[in-house]
Symmetry: D2
Subunit: 258 residues, 4 copies
């Protein structure tokens, strides 16, 4: 299916600042970019971030004063959605280095602290059935409350407060998965139909030898989301990492199915 | 019923240190001291801690070198054990200052962080039924694992790890209670029949205008425990607070029903 | 000197809620109340919180809908300000139970975690010289940044972020003091000349057998502040503890020297 | 110079467990492996972890019962040690994806919480002078105390406790560097002359377009250390990550200069 994306970021930088921008859709077999364009006013110099193994198309820019960033894209998504419940866990000794790193706790995913709970709750399951039970648990036990979390809220906090937004749902799911030895990572996406429209955060879990998307918040249909970036947790996939300070003037995201 | 207590602490203090000692049974209507004796070798100077509203009979001692402390007591316990499930919560505006202070979070009881979970889980109940459900939850969801926690383990840690010892069971119960607006405090007791024999930590919850004992670990029979001290959390009721360092040589507690 | 106080709280309670109100000045030898009045519109029932050892004149009220609370007072402050640097620490074995409790860590004052730093930094000093060095350190190393902390910011957070408001300055000072075995507590006050005018939080440290006021933020002159409440940390001395939710409509504090 | 390595790990696995083993020296221009051998008794199946960009030569093994692992190596180290103080920071927009990831906080390096302190303390410096000042600060302000930290001690904990071991020195240095926008990562090494002999943890900081080794503990001479693995923090570079439980029987490390 064809997905149409329009995102706009308008910030004011009182002081010059380096900015890492990650708003562009990835061009993958499962999501082919028909056309896309990143426009900036003023047209500041941009530099592709080299490497990264295809995890994101981040760019470095140097911002000062007013900066308007527009990204438009048309993407054909042909992702085949598999029933995770049937997928086996990949034997650990087959995991490559690029996957192994997603077994470990990270800044906002304290998997090590949640091993006790995860063992008690999900210890009788394995593979895709276990991952599905984790995502169901997160959906069933959290309340979606805009404004209930901040940029430093971690999975441990969310496990106690029992509320959050998509970022928090993903962090908690990822923490459960890693606590049980399933590689999991965070994924930023454009998702049609999210209310209110915004960048969306979901998760990848490694099953049957591949990354499988899963949305513990159930806000999106993973058959039609468009991947932007992936990483250990929110810290790696921010659409805009500002090394300095900036004032938000306007931010909008429109994602529609054609 | 008559409870017989023998506790012994043997420590070595390489450097002189102030020590706050709280090992003596309280003399209360519900537990009458028939006889008791606190003996120290050498017989260091001891000073009663003045005040405290009957919460404990703490003493200051100044320790240096080897110190052996023996406490023996015979106590008649006539506590009437009420069925908490029937007791109403006390209206908040009737709570006195000495009880109000146990509504708030403390060092090891982060009640504020657990409000979300407590509301979702215990929000439909009130009073004694709510307190009982909390204690049942703690018993059902934690594993008693000696050595699984340390002196700085807090209720939030235990909520995630799902294991601990009596101290951790009490901290988590107290945190739930305070999260829902029920005053709760920690109580150190001598308890017959604990295996292995040791000082024991349980909780008081304020219901129907009085403190009601409750043991979330179900290790003791609250009809025959002997109160030593009470406070906000483990930090207030330690049987021995050492301002300095000491080496443990021997520690034993024997509590029997006559 | 004569201090004139006018404070006003206007809140809207969409749901009925119990509220613990602590806005009234204490009547003490060092601060004699000439006249004061607490007025509420509507005139909801109020109940004095019984007990508390003179630490505060808190009241329970039951609020619903719009509630305007006005407190006016005229207080003669005759506090003698002593030079803390000359005061000895009180020997520990002379501390009473009401002071001993302020030796321990609390929810927002993780004194136990800061022992290492405090020993290295203040270990060569004692008594009032030590307390003064701690307050100086806090003033010298923190930046006063309104909005940089929240209701759950603790002393450990502030020690790292190096910024905060009066509440955070007090929490960090109190944590240092307790880490070194000096009893310390938090005190809410009315303080003339604070900019912007607001409730103010400072600290008491126990030296030479009495509580001595100290303001690590240096915003107030402790010779003319008016004590409202004291407790282990911010959780105990809030001017308004709401058991439920409320919307702030207006809040103002005016404190002037006549 | 030629470095001779002998490390031995002897563990007992009561239950079968997957183990990620990272004890082998990297073969790099700066450290050429003359010969090395990894021997296991019994000779369990081993699988190279594929990929990882040369960060480590980790292997997956499946352990059960007694397992003795011996690693011996002879390595010619020709690393040129540069004076970091003269090296410029690399402009951010030249950082590649493999370096960008080391700008962010991780599980044990809460760089985000230490920005305030780092700005105040190191804000006037840049590049290698800044990195050197950070390493000096860590050395000057921490006490090396074996046993003072555990596997879950983080940089924030160490910043408060002011003590730790090589792991903690590295975590705190890395957190300061990231807080100021310098990429930094953790490195496990074999280091001649460490007392007691053990695996050692130091740091890499990205300056002048390359990773530069730095040892905030000053225990090793970075001119002769042998790199094993690098990663975001201790979680990534453990010499042995056990997915299950094991009992340590013997562990020894001998590293000598020939």
């Amino acid at each position: 299916m064809r997905v149409s994306i329009q995102s706009r970021l308008h910030y004011h930088f009182a002081q010059p600042a380096d900015v890492l921008l990650a708003v562009e859709a990835l061009d993958l077999a499962e999501q082919v970019i028909v056309q896309d364009a990143l426009t900036m006013r003023p047209d500041v110099e941009r530099r592709d971030v080299i490497g990264g193994g295809g995890d994101q198309r981040a760019k470095w820019i140097h911002a000062e004063g007013d900066l308007e960033i527009d990204y438009t894209a048309t993407v054909d998504v042909t992702r085949i959605v598999r029933d995770l419940g049937d997928l086996p866990a990949t034997p650990r000794h087959e995991l490559s280095a690029d996957v192994v790193r997603y077994l470990f706790p990270s800044r906002y995913c304290e998997a090590d602290q949640l091993v006790g709970f995860a063992m008690n709750t999900f210890g009788d399951l394995s593979g895709g059935a276990q991952a599905t039970a984790m995502a169901d648990w997160v959906f069933d036990h959290l309340d979606y409350v805009p404004g209930s979390s901040t940029g430093v809220t971690s999975a441990a906090d969310t496990f106690m407060s029992r509320q959050g937004v998509c970022r928090d749902y993903a962090h908690l799911f990822i923490s459960f998965a890693r606590a049980m030895g399933l590689p999991a990572r965070m994924v930023s996406v454009y998702a049609p139909g999210i209310e209110p429209p915004d960048f969306h955060a979901i998760a990848d879990v490694w099953l049957d030898g591949a990354w499988q998307l899963i949305d513990p918040s159930r806000m999106s249909d993973i058959g039609n989301v468009v991947r932007i970036a992936s990483g250990r947790d929110a810290t790696d996939i921010s659409f805009m990492t500002i090394f300095g300070t900036a004032e938000l003037k306007e931010q909008s995201v429109h994602v529609t199915l054609e």
